[in-house]
């Protein structure tokens, strides 16, 4: 296969460690995904592949280490989180001080009550922001040196799209609706737009359906938009999951065992699709896979995990010959 295009790594995961209680699922793994490449992560069952994958996707917070996307740190252990309550209470205290000063100066209870009510509203607003975490709130936290790990939806905004090992489509929604949900971050109609049926909402609904149809055609499901996701055959469900992930126009596509449970023909089709995505959309792909034919046939680089540790890394050919990899998969030769 073609060598990786030289360039800045799209994603760097440095020294990622994840412990679940006493179990070390991922231990000090460093991993780079260069832009435009297809990178694979392999390893025996229970090697920590999916855990590592979920950390990159923002589902778990790592116990140690951090993930940078295009040089921006997005995922790490929270830092200086004790400062966050100051963000909630400082504005309230300021408003309350103004209220008190106003009361002392004017002796008007009405003014004091009014400003007091404003203080309460501000407090509630700040508390809500801490739950909803809008962009301005995150910037504010960053200014204060507080770091909070990105959530899955933040990672989607940063350009990551993913599929799941065990297909997780919205089963009772149509294929089209699944893709439209995938396009959520690219659409901007609010609840009010929808209720008032504003021109923006109507335009977006039409445009997004056109785009969704394109995506369905791209993954090989043209004209199947009206079918319920659960009624699609297994292989097509996998394709639909890819289409949904593509909805957010990701730069990096995370595929968790995309060919699991597929027959050889479907597997070959999926490989063609992955290559096509890289070729036509310029996507970078991170692949977890058990099927060695897929991994060796498609990847630019392969990383091998075993017991949560990285044991080998390199081109498919290098990895194939690596004695440690052979040992991990087949066991140590009898001495």
């Amino acid at each position: 296969m073609t060598a990786a295009r030289a360039g800045v790594p799209l994603v760097i995961a440095r020294n990622i460690t994840k412990r679940f209680g006493g179990l070390v699922a991922v231990n000090d793994v460093t991993f780079e995904i260069p832009e435009g490449s297809i990178v694979s992560l392999i390893g025996p069952n229970g090697a920590g592949k999916t855990t590592f994958f979920n950390i990159i996707a923002g589902i778990y917070d790592p116990t140690g280490g951090h993930v940078d996307v295009r040089g921006r740190p997005l995922i790490a252990r929270p830092r200086n989180s004790w400062r966050e309550p100051f963000v909630w209470f400082a504005p309230v205290l300021a408003v309350a001080a103004v209220a008190y000063a106003g009361y002392v100066a004017t002796k008007s209870e009405l003014i004091a009550t009014a400003i007091g009510a404003v203080a309460l509203v501000v407090l509630i607003a700040m508390m809500l922001s801490s739950v909803a975490r809008p962009a301005w709130y995150n910037t504010l936290l960053a200014r204060l040196g507080v770091f909070k790990s990105a959530r899955p939806n933040d990672m989607v905004k940063a350009g990551l799209g993913r599929t799941f090992q065990n297909i997780r489509l919205f089963q009772n929604m149509t294929a089209m609706e699944n893709v439209l949900v995938g396009m959520h971050t690219k659409l901007h109609a609010t609840a009010f737009d929808a209720m008032l049926s504003t021109p923006r909402n109507r335009r977006e609904e039409v445009d997004s359906r056109v785009r969704a149809n394109e995506l369905l055609a791209l993954v090989g499901l043209p004209g199947r938009g009206d079918e319920l996701a659960k009624n699609l055959p297994y292989g097509d469900q996998r394709r639909l999951e890819v289409a949904r992930a593509l909805g957010s126009d990701p730069a990096l596509l995370l595929l968790d065992e995309p060919t699991a449970g597929m027959n050889p023909r479907e597997t070959a089709d999926m490989m063609t699709l992955i290559n096509k995505l890289r070729g036509e959309l310029g996507l970078t792909v991170l692949l977890i896979e058990h099927d060695m034919k897929v991994v060796m046939g498609i990847s630019d680089r392969v990383t091998v995990l075993d017991h949560g540790e990285k044991i080998a890394e390199g081109t498919p050919d290098e990895v194939r010959r690596d004695p440690r990899v052979i040992e991990a998969y087949l066991g140590a030769p009898a001495a």
Partner: protein, 391 residues
């Protein structure tokens, strides 16, 4: 799926089915217009029905109309709860709390008790807004809980709110409630106790607008997001949805509908008291949307309407009927006291025979009858890969 079997040639009902198809096509294209038309027809037919024999025997038209407006309150509540439970899949057992908050908001905004008299239209907005605010306040800390836990917290909230109104006597007059609320004041219309028509028309208008707005929401980016969260929250988050704000929005919009209903109810009864908002109300509404067909807007509206009417009219008539005929044990029963037993029975029977509700949404019907569905339509395409299809 795209190639539907062609309609049977030269069948008897062809003209009718063509007309139906045209109506359906029109309804799909101009949804808001057809909702307004449909509701106008319903609103015009109901008063006429009330003077036709089987119904006119039960009670006079005025009583019927007044009952219809009360039923409208429950239709609104069911529509609102349907956003939370049916669309977003968040089980809310304390929904009556928002109803109470809307009603008390009206009591503070338009009664001699508070000395304020704000215009009704403004109060509707305020009631909805206040209820939405409380919805967000309740939702923010609790929406990270899942399923059962969320249900318990909302149950608690539903208990707390009426108790607060009951015990904060200094501000709410306790058990007596706040009375003498002003009737709605809409220009050129006089609302009096004796004339049920203005309330009836006002209710029809409010319900129409609500149904229209909810329909639009359902078929939008927001509605799809709710559905996605109901289906699979993790996958929804991995598709880029901010699950917290999306769920908060569902809670807020559901609560605001209840607030709206509260304002209307308070202005019609001219009294708010804590016992109007006990947890039984929450359960009634929940039962209504389950019986009506969760997730289907027309279904829950119709379900709420029918059940409320049955509960208020039919049970009373049953009493009268059995007393008149003199059936041994039944004549001594007061059926109104057994309404929750009847609810329970109806729910159990429903779950056994028609789990998707009386008027199910297409989606839920397919969900619950997946086996029957794999019929002629799907067979062609699934062919060959049936062996691998997960199930």
């Amino acid at each position: 799926m795209t190639a539907r079997p062609a309609p049977m040639p030269a069948s008897r009902g062809r003209g009718l089915s063509n007309a139906l198809r045209e109506v359906r096509a029109f309804a799909d294209e101009h949804r808001s217009v057809s909702i307004v038309l449909g509701m106008a027809v319903i609103a015009a037919v109901l008063p006429l029905l009330a003077v036709v024999p089987p119904f006119s025997i039960f009670q006079k038209q005025d009583v019927w109309l007044s009952g219809f407006s009360n039923a409208g309150v429950f239709v609104l509540l069911a529509l609102g709860l349907n956003i939370v439970v049916g669309m977003a899949g968040l089980l809310d057992l304390g929904y009556a709390a928002f109803f109470a908050i809307g009603a008390y908001a009206y009591a503070y905004g338009a009664s001699p008790y508070s000395g304020q008299h704000l215009p009704f239209i403004l109060m509707i907005l305020i009631g909805a807004l206040v209820a939405a605010t409380f919805g967000v306040l309740l939702g923010a800390p609790t929406l990270r809980l899942r399923g059962d836990y969320l249900a318990i917290v909302t149950l608690g909230f539903g208990e707390i709110v009426p108790i607060v109104f009951l015990n904060a006597e200094k501000y709410t007059e306790g058990t007596n409630g706040i009375g003498g609320l002003y009737k709605p004041d809409i220009p050129f219309v006089t609302f009096t106790l004796l004339n049920p028509w203005p309330f009836y028309v006002l209710m029809a208008v409010i319900v129409t607008i609500t149904i229209m707005l909810i329909y639009r929401l359902q078929n939008s980016r927001v509605g799809r997001a709710w559905m996605a969260i109901r289906e699979d929250e993790l996958a929804a988050a991995a598709s880029g949805l901010n699950t917290v704000t999306t769920k908060l929005l569902a809670f807020a919009l559901g609560a605001s509908t209840a607030g709206l209903a509260g304002v209307f109810n308070a202005s019609k009864l001219t009294l708010v008291s804590p016992d109007q908002f006990m947890s039984t109300v929450s359960f009634s509404i929940l039962a209504m949307i389950v019986l009506g067909g969760m997730g289907n807007i027309w279904g829950v509206a119709l379900g709420a309407f029918v059940i409320y009417t049955i509960q208020v009219v039919l049970l009373k008539q049953l009493n009268a009927f059995f007393a008149a005929v003199g059936v041994p044990i039944l004549k001594d029963l007061n059926f109104i006291q057994y309404q929750f037993l009847l609810y329970g029975l109806a729910l159990v029977l429903m779950m056994l025979f028609r789990p998707e509700g009386l008027f199910p949404s297409q989606r839920r019907k397919r969900e619950l009858h997946a086996a029957d569905e794999l019929g002629p339509g799907a067979a062609g395409e699934v062919q060959g890969s049936l062996g691998e299809s997960p199930e």
